[in-house]
């Protein structure tokens, strides 16, 4: 397939890997932000092609992994209501909440439907005027325009039985949180190419300037990632810290202007809690005033401390598994196989933590592709 095969070419990958080896003179730690990149890195064994001085750590760029447990509990509360059709991207269904996941709600008789596109959820609302349709709007800047469009269309069409449970997160504040942590190990970042197709990359320049780290906007195929690493190492070895764009075939400096205009119309920034990491200021989106009637949190007044079940609400504590070290994994401080539950108590069939759920989660990627990580 055009634009894919060329970037999976083994010879090209080898050439870039040799180039990386030839310029590396000392140890460097690089973080890829996006779960899609983590997946490629682990699947293709990219680390094994690199000189041993280079260490890759995996960042918090998997929306399935960072959606806070309180929000999962809210989703479960709303999905359990009798007149609600709860719609979501497929991989949110198995994320563990405090007591259960959305799949269990479905098994218990709740209506939970997987949709491919948020516009499908709007269509379901049109077709079911006697039901309330709620869409679980998670994701980074890549997904936000699609979710914004669903709200925009619902308002335009006068659809009243549609709302979103909004848990959007943003990449630059997460990078800043990692860099400003005293334990930080990361010296250079591969920025998520698809986030930048929407947002462009000007917002990363203050980060490179303040923290003196190179940030290279990088694509998702093996050769893209190797080239992103090459560009990052070259900057590190030369003592430069700039924003560079490896993924120029899809990313322009200014991003996608119509998408950014739509985002500005529908959303404003808000503080968000990241699962395993904690609250990061101005790190997410919420609906703007004219659209708050589409906010499921307003509509249902679900407090995350009360769980609904068959019309009865009761108090719950948000409980994470005490074995799960997902927060350390998501900040690049630990690798998945360093978790004591990895592959034993925690597997993709019975995930203890969110990074074991989606194939973009670091723990699931290690489980699937790296059978030798047995510790």
């Amino acid at each position: 397939m055009k634009f894919i095969d060329e970037y999976r070419n083994a010879e090209a990958a080898q050439a870039v890997a040799s180039a990386i080896a030839s310029i590396t003179t000392r140890p460097w730690t690089i973080m890829e932000i996006c779960g899609g990149q983590t997946h490629t890195i682990v699947k293709y064994g990219i680390e094994s092609l690199l000189p041993k001085e280079i260490s890759l750590v995996h960042g918090p760029g998997c929306p399935v992994c960072v959606t806070p447990i309180g929000m999962i509990d809210k989703a479960i509360a709303v999905a359990s209501m009798a007149d609600v059709i709860f719609t979501s991207f497929g991989d949110m269904l198995r994320v563990p909440g405090s007591e259960k996941d959305l799949l269990t709600v479905k098994a218990e008789g709740g209506t939970v439907r997987i949709v491919y596109s948020p516009l499908d959820a709007v269509t379901i609302a049109q077709k079911n005027p006697d039901k309330q349709v709620v869409f679980f709007a998670v994701g980074f800047e890549t997904t936000a325009p699609a979710n914004a469009m669903a709200v925009f269309q619902a308002k335009r069409l006068g659809i009243k039985n549609f709302s979103i449970l909004c848990s959007h997160v943003l990449v630059p504040p997460a990078i800043e949180a990692i860099l400003s942590s005293p334990q930080n190990l990361v010296q250079g970042f591969l920025a998520a190419g698809h986030v930048c197709t929407v947002m462009g990359y000007e917002e990363y320049i203050p980060l490179t300037d303040t923290y003196r780290v190179p940030i290279v906007v990088t694509g998702f195929e093996p050769v893209d990632i190797l080239q992103g690493i090459y560009m990052t190492i070259k900057q590190l070895e030369e003592g430069r810290y700039e924003v560079e764009n490896q993924y120029a075939r899809a990313v322009r400096r200014e991003g996608n202007i119509p998408a950014k205009q739509l985002l500005a119309e529908i959303f404003e920034t808000t503080d968000r809690t990241w699962r395993g990491i904690g609250e990061i200021p101005s790190s997410g989106y919420k609906l703007r005033e004219p659209y708050t009637e589409y906010d499921a949190e307003n509509k249902y007044r679900v407090s995350s401390e009360r769980l609904w079940h068959h019309g009865v609400s009761r108090h719950i504590e948000h409980q994470e598994s005490n074995l799960c070290i997902a927060g350390l994994v998501l900040q690049g401080l630990k690798k998945p196989h360093e978790c004591s539950a990895f592959r034993t108590e925690c597997t993709p069939e019975r995930p203890l933590g969110a990074p074991m759920v989606s194939s973009e989660g670091a723990c699931a990627a290690y489980y699937q592709y790296q059978p030798f990580f047995q510790e």
Partner: protein, 84 residues
């Protein structure tokens, strides 16, 4: 869910709102919202995520990146950075 993949635009429904079209992904065709890439033309490549085209693919830039790989291959010695 973060998957976004390139595909070729094979039809555009100019009258639809939001702008919709069909995109071919190596044989599989899907309905895709093209509203965020309003100037897209037939046969152009777009990157699609959760049913939305979020960017056009720039053919020339794609070739440039590939050419760079070839240069890396043939010119490795020149890439070596002098010791500081």
């Amino acid at each position: 869910m973060c998957l976004a993949i390139p595909g070729k635009v094979v039809s555009i429904e100019r009258a639809s709102s939001p702008l919709m079209g069909t995109v071919n992904f190596g044989g599989i065709q899907k309905q895709v919202c093209l509203d965020l890439v309003p100037d897209v033309l037939l046969d152009e490549y777009v990157i699609v995520h959760v049913g939305f085209a979020i960017s056009k693919m720039d053919e020339q830039e794609a070739q440039e990146t590939l050419k760079l790989f070839e240069e890396l291959d043939s010119g490795l010695d020149e890439l070596k950075i002098p010791e500081i």
